[in-house]
Structure formats: structure tokens, C-alpha cells
């Protein structure tokens, strides 16, 4: 009996908390954005900004499109989800300042999914309750596949900034900004082969990640036709991602000239450090997840000297300067490719919305019907590629750019 009593107590406590949160979420547009973002302070400031914007252009902007963002905002993948959230917020701010979409503003709300499919569906449902009309998400592949099954049922327009697994955009209502995993694997092997960078290649990958495993798979199958010999293929798992000494030793012993790292930058930064400690100096070659390595706090960027990565975005590139400055001012860190992908995703949504001529009073399903054909007609000059177009399968058509790290900066090749 006492258990029931105390459980009831907690329920009441939780209920009151929810009631508090609920009230603030229902008030105004600005307040709604306020509840979305992760860091309360930042968003409070931003909320004010948006409010002033709304009053400035009050006559111009009528109503708003509700755009949902999903990604891991807590948990050990939070760095990626927060980048997506921040990138999307900057894009929305810019678009609103420039007159919005068809005279209406964009309103962003981000929800946390901890990179877990189940939580991601919960986040999606929360956004639906909020009245989301379009989805920019989700950030990670596994979660994206689960949410994609929901969006196709609801006929909700979905564009994922960084969900790179093939299945993420299998449905007609889903598009993506980043390259798919097979594309990245093949493109990396081709780049290495065509530029005769190495013939003996070792791979260190995260066998518990859909993203990493997916790229490795196509890289390995493309390698022979590019004259690449895979001398070592070493895995690590999410439970063991701080000690790479064995993997590096094996790559070194196998005589690898190049180490291919289809992994995210957090692990890559440790690999570079440990390789330097071992005086193992091959060429390191990464993919888009590697972007962001220079902003790892306290990372000795000289370790990354000469690292190549195939990514659509470089924060130091000329055309990204404006975005990078804004991002650094607002969030105090250099944007990575996740932020850029999200930024482009919001612009793509805005562009398609203009072409389709949608208005904020339309339902999510009608908007989706209008946006899907419009997506294949637009061309975006974004941060992650100029002249990007989309095909009906939802894949972007753009060229990967090779980036080399020189003197602590990303340099386009």
C-alpha cells in the first residue's frame, strides 16, 4: 500500500511539473521557441531576438510554419544533435529576417531522441502534438529509419540532414541532405584510387554503428576495382571507444599506408592522438563524420595535419564564412557538417515551400503532397554543395569535396 501511495506522490509531482512546462509552451510563439532549445540561456536570448524580429517585420510575416527538428540533445551523441538544432535555428532566423516563406515565418522546435529509435518516435509524436508541419530530422540513421516509418503513415514531409543509411529515405515523402552511406564508401575508395594515394589500406570502424558499418561495407566492395588492398579491417564498439592501441598496432604491422576512418570525429580525435604516441604516421582519410575534429576542445590540431576527409562542408571555406561567424557568435563553437546539413535542409524546405506556394494554414499532409514534387524542381546553393538538386528517390545530387587539414584549418582540394 505504501508503495502505491508514494508512487502516486511522484505522479502528482510529475504532473505538476508537466503542468508548469505545458503552460509555458502554450503561451506565445516566442515562448514556444524558448522551450525548444537545449540551453535555456541561449534560447532565451534567441527568443527575444525572434520576438524583436517579429515586431520589426510584423507587417510582413503572417503566421508561421512549424518545423520540427529531432536529434540527440542529451546522451553521448548529443554533440551531433545539438549541431543540427543550432544549424536549423540559424537558417530559420535568416529566412525570417529575409521575409520568411511566402510571407510566413519559420518556427523551429527541437526534441531530444538520445539517438534511440524508440525515443525518436516519442520525440516525433511530441512534435506532432505541437502541430509540426514539416520535419527536419532525424539526425542519426537508426532513429531516422524508425521515424521514417511513422512519417510515411502520417504523410509528413521529412528531410533528414544527416541520416545517411539507405533506408532513411526509402519512402517517397523523405529526402536527405547528406550523402548516403554507400555513396560515401564508394566515393572514398574512388578518390583514394584515382589520386593514387595508397594501395595498402587499413580500416578502423565502429561495428556497432549503422553509419560506420554501412560505409565500410561499400568501401570494401569498391576497393579491389580501385587497386586498393585492404590489409586490416579492425572494429571497435560503442562500449570500447577510447582505446585504439590494438587496432592501430595491427594497422601498423600490416604495413598500411593509409588508414580509412569511416567514423565520427570524437573517436577520430583519439585515434590521431594515440597514433601520434605510437609514432605511426600513415595518411588518415575520413568521411563527413570526421568534420568537426578541429573543434574538439583541447585537441592538438597539429595532430590532424594532413588528414584528408571527403565531406561536403568546410567551416573555413570562403562561402561558409558568414554562417561560421554567426554560429560561433551564437553558440561559441565552430560549426561542423551536421550544422551545415541542417542549415541547408531548412533552406531546401523554404525553397520548396516557395515553389509549391504553401501557406501555414495547410495541414501537414497537404503540405507534404505539395512539397514532394517541388523538391525535385529546386536547386540550392548551400553550404554543403552548390547547385544541389534532389531526385525522386530523395537523394541529393552534389559533388563530394575533398578537404585537407592544413595548418589547423580545413582546406578545400
Amino acid at each position: 500500500m505504501k508503495k502505491v501511495v508514494s508512487l502516486g506522490l511522484v505522479a502528482a509531482m510529475a504532473g505538476s511539473l508537466v503542468a508548469c512546462g505545458g503552460n509555458s509552451a502554450e503561451t506565445t510563439t516566442a515562448a514556444a521557441t524558448e522551450t525548444t532549445a537545449a540551453e535555456a540561456k541561449e534560447t532565451a536570448a534567441q527568443g527575444e531576438k525572434e520576438e524583436t524580429e517579429a515586431t520589426d517585420g510584423g507587417a510582413a510575416l503572417e503566421g508561421s510554419f512549424k518545423v520540427g527538428v529531432i536529434g540527440p540533445l542529451t546522451g553521448d551523441a548529443a554533440a551531433y544533435g545539438l549541431a543540427v538544432q543550432h544549424g536549423a535555428e540559424i537558417a530559420a532566423e535568416e529566412i525570417n529576417a529575409a521575409g520568411g516563406i511566402n510571407g510566413a515565418a519559420i518556427e523551429i522546435q527541437a526534441q531530444d531522441d538520445e539517438a534511440d529509435p524508440e525515443k525518436s518516435v516519442n520525440a516525433y509524436n511530441t512534435l506532432k502534438d505541437w502541430g509540426m508541419q514539416m520535419l527536419v530530422g532525424t539526425t542519426t540513421s537508426g532513429a531516422c529509419i524508425a521515424v521514417a516509418a511513422e512519417t510515411v503513415n502520417d504523410n509528413m514531409f521529412q528531410i533528414t540532414p544527416s541520416g545517411s543509411a539507405v533506408e532513411c529515405v526509402a519512402n517517397p515523402n523523405a529526402f536527405r541532405v547528406c550523402f548516403s552511406d554507400p555513396d560515401q564508401g564508394t566515393a572514398s575508395a574512388q578518390y583514394i584510387g584515382e589520386n593514387k594515394m595508397a594501395t595498402k589500406v587499413a580500416i578502423i570502424y565502429d561495428s556497432s554503428s549503422v553509419y560506420s558499418d554501412g560505409i565500410r561495407e561499400t568501401f570494401v566492395s569498391e576497393a579491389p576495382s580501385q587497386g586498393i588492398e585492404i590489409v586490416a579491417s579492425e572494429a571497435f564498439t560503442a562500449d570500447n571507444k577510447t582505446d585504439f592501441s590494438v587496432q592501430l598496432d595491427k594497422a601498423k604491422e600490416a604495413g598500411a599506408e593509409l588508414v580509412f576512418l569511416p567514423i565520427y570525429y570524437q573517436e577520430a580525435s583519439i585515434i590521431l592522438k594515440q597514433a601520434a604516441d605510437k609514432e605511426f604516421k600513415p595518411i588518415f582519410f575520413g568521411v563527413d563524420g570526421m568534420d568537426g575534429i578541429l573543434s574538439v576542445e583541447n585537441f592538438d590540431t597539429s595532430l590532424a595535419e594532413g588528414v584528408m576527409l571527403l565531406t561536403p562542408f568546410a567551416a573555413d571555406a570562403e562561402d561558409a564564412k558568414g554562417f561560421t561567424t554567426k554560429y560561433v557568435d551564437a553558440y561559441g563553437e565552430t560549426p561542423n557538417q551536421f550544422a551545415a546539413d541542417a542549415y541547408d535542409a531548412v533552406y531546401a524546405v523554404a525553397e520548396a515551400a516557395k515553389v509549391a506556394g504553401i501557406t501555414p494554414d495547410m495541414g501537414a499532409s497537404d503540405i507534404c503532397d505539395a512539397l514532394v514534387p517541388a523538391m525535385t524542381q529546386i536547386t540550392i546553393d548551400g553550404l554543403t554543395g552548390t547547385g544541389t538538386t534532389w531526385n525522386e528517390a530523395g537523394e541529393p545530387n552534389k559533388d563530394p569535396k575533398a578537404v585537407k587539414i592544413v595548418g589547423g584549418k580545413y582546406e578545400m582540394q
Binding site: 542529451t74 548529443a78 572494429a235 577510447t242 582505446d243 590494438v246 587496432q247 598496432d249 574538439v296 583541447n298
Partner: protein, 293 residues
């Protein structure tokens, strides 16, 4: 030669597990509880050192001392606030509270430091030792880790066997009731145990992050679980057991990564644990307790 290199790296990894496992095993021996928040105290220690060294451009030694101080205070506070009120309650209740404390520490760290991983600057600046014409290279961190583990082990054993407090700890772990009757302040003894365990966790945190330089709010949880396994492996409650368990675990993990499969290393470590426990149900150095009706 490569075998030796894997082996030595394994001992180094194992030494870190051993230092963490010492904290687990001491707390278990005395309070009969699994302190699941122990792994997160490691993380707090590492963040303290990181903050002190990077903001006060400081001496790494100051950083380590600060970490030891912060963790000791934290450990004692946690014990006082969260565990002491539960003395006498079911061990499972304490276990769940410890899990709550673990979530709490992780989320406070997440709010304070953000989720971006930070590269930890090694506190060890000793150059690597080269043997056999440069074929075998042992890094400074590896040497310091192994040395610290041995020193800690010796100091701890002396402390327990030679001091009054150490004897009190032994008495409390044998029989709380009898110890109270002999005039031992049980609460104080347990608090001291938590203080020592947490101080060790701070040192382990600094060594862990020096060897594997990534620091996030979740840094401590996996090494924490591995160390827990190591403590059980060696016989939970036994100090030399924790030491042996930790080192064996580290060596098996590294060798199986090198020679069997880097994906399955955890599965192999856990399989060995299961086999050992089936042969010796109370771990390598655990005491067999005969049940009475």
C-alpha cells in the same frame, strides 16, 4: 615483439581497472553495497583535473590534488546524503539509489560541461621507453599507470594492516554488530572507506583520461562496469583480488582484441568471467562462505 607490446598495454589498462576495482571492492566489503555511481566519480575527477589544468594553466599536480579533494568530498557527501539513510534497508534499494546518483552525476556534468568530447591533456610528460632497438615502445603513461597501481596497492595494504582505522575497517566488514560493541564508530569507518575509494577513483580518472584522452560526461560508466566485473572476478571484498582481477581483465581484453576479434573482445572477457565463476563461484580470491540454517 608485438605480443609483448599488446601484453604491456593490457597490463596498463588492467592497472586502471584495478585502481577503480579497489574502490568498488572496499565499499562492497564494508557497506555490502554495489556503488554503481563509482564510475561517475572517475568522470568527476577527470573533469576537475581538466578544468584546473586548462583554466589555471596549472601544474598537473595541482590538478590531481584538486581532483582527489573534490572526489573525496563528493564521495563522503553522497554516502551521507544518499546511502546512510538506507542503512538497514534491502541491498537492492541501495543499489537503485546508487544508480540514481550515477544518473544525477552524469546529467549535472552534461549541464556544466556539455556533451562535446574534450581531449584530455596527459598529466604525464615522461618520454616513451624504447627497448629492443625501438621495436618495443612503452609510453610514459603506461609506466606511470603501472607504477601508481603498485604503489597504491602497497600503501593500501599497509594502511589496512597497520593502522587503527584499517583494523576498524576489517572489523566492520567482518561483523558490523560486533564492531559496534567493540567501540568502533561504524558510520565514521564507512565514511572513511568512501573517502578512500573516491580518492582512488579520482586518481584512476586522471590516469584513464591520460591514457585514453577523451572526456565526456559518460566517460566513467563503461570502465566502471568493467572494474566492477574485475572486482567480482578477483573475489569481491578482497583487495588483492581486485588488483589481480583488474590486471587479468585488462590483459585478456587486449589480447583478445589483438588475436581473436576486436568486435568480440567484450564477449570474450565476459565469457572468461563466467567460466572462472563457474569453477570458483566466489571469484579467484573470494572467501567461500558456508551457509547455515
Amino acid at each position: 615483439m608485438s605480443f609483448l607490446s599488446y601484453f604491456i598495454n593490457g597490463i596498463s589498462l588492467g592497472s586502471i581497472y584495478a585502481i577503480i576495482a579497489l574502490g568498488y571492492t572496499m565499499v562492497y566489503g564494508i557497506a555490502k553495497m554495489l556503488n554503481f555511481a563509482h564510475g561517475d566519480i572517475i568522470m568527476v575527477g577527470a573533469f576537475t583535473t581538466f578544468t584546473v589544468v586548462s583554466t589555471h594553466s596549472g601544474n598537473p599536480l595541482v590538478g590531481i590534488l584538486a581532483a582527489v579533494l573534490v572526489c573525496t568530498v563528493l564521495g563522503v557527501t553522497i554516502e551521507r546524503v544518499a546511502y546512510r539513510p538506507l542503512r538497514g534497508a534491502s541491498p537492492l534499494a541501495v543499489l537503485i539509489t546508487a544508480i540514481g546518483v550515477s544518473y544525477l552525476l552524469q546529467n549535472v556534468a552534461l549541464l556544466l560541461f556539455g556533451s562535446n568530447s574534450k581531449q584530455f591533456t596527459s598529466v604525464v610528460n615522461i618520454p616513451a621507453l624504447k627497448l629492443a632497438e625501438g621495436q618495443l615502445s612503452i609510453s610514459g603513461v603506461t609506466m606511470v599507470t603501472i607504477a601508481s597501481c603498485i604503489i597504491i596497492m602497497i600503501v593500501l595494504t599497509t594502511f589496512i594492516n597497520k593502522t587503527k582505522m584499517g583494523q576498524a575497517m576489517l572489523a566492520v566488514s567482518e561483523d558490523k554488530g560486533a564492531a559496534t560493541l567493540m567501540g568502533i564508530d561504524v558510520n565514521r569507518t564507512i565514511a572513511v572507506t568512501f573517502a578512500i575509494g573516491s580518492a582512488l577513483a579520482a586518481i584512476a580518472g586522471v590516469l584513464l583520461c591520460s591514457a585514453y584522452p577523451s572526456l565526456t560526461p559518460y566517460t566513467g560508466s563503461m570502465p566502471g562496469i568493467k572494474a566492477f566485473v574485475a572486482a567480482v572476478f578477483g573475489g569481491i571484498g578482497s583487495i588483492p583480488g581486485a588488483m589481480i582481477g583488474g590486471i587479468i581483465l585488462g590483459v585478456i581484453e587486449n589480447l583478445s582484441k589483438a588475436y581473436i576479434s576486436s568486435q568480440l573482445s567484450d564477449a570474450i572477457v565476459f565469457s572468461v568471467l563466467i567460466i572462472v565463476l563457474l569453477v570458483r563461484p566466489t571469484g579467484i580470491l573470494g572467501k567461500t562462505i558456508h551457509e547455515k540454517v
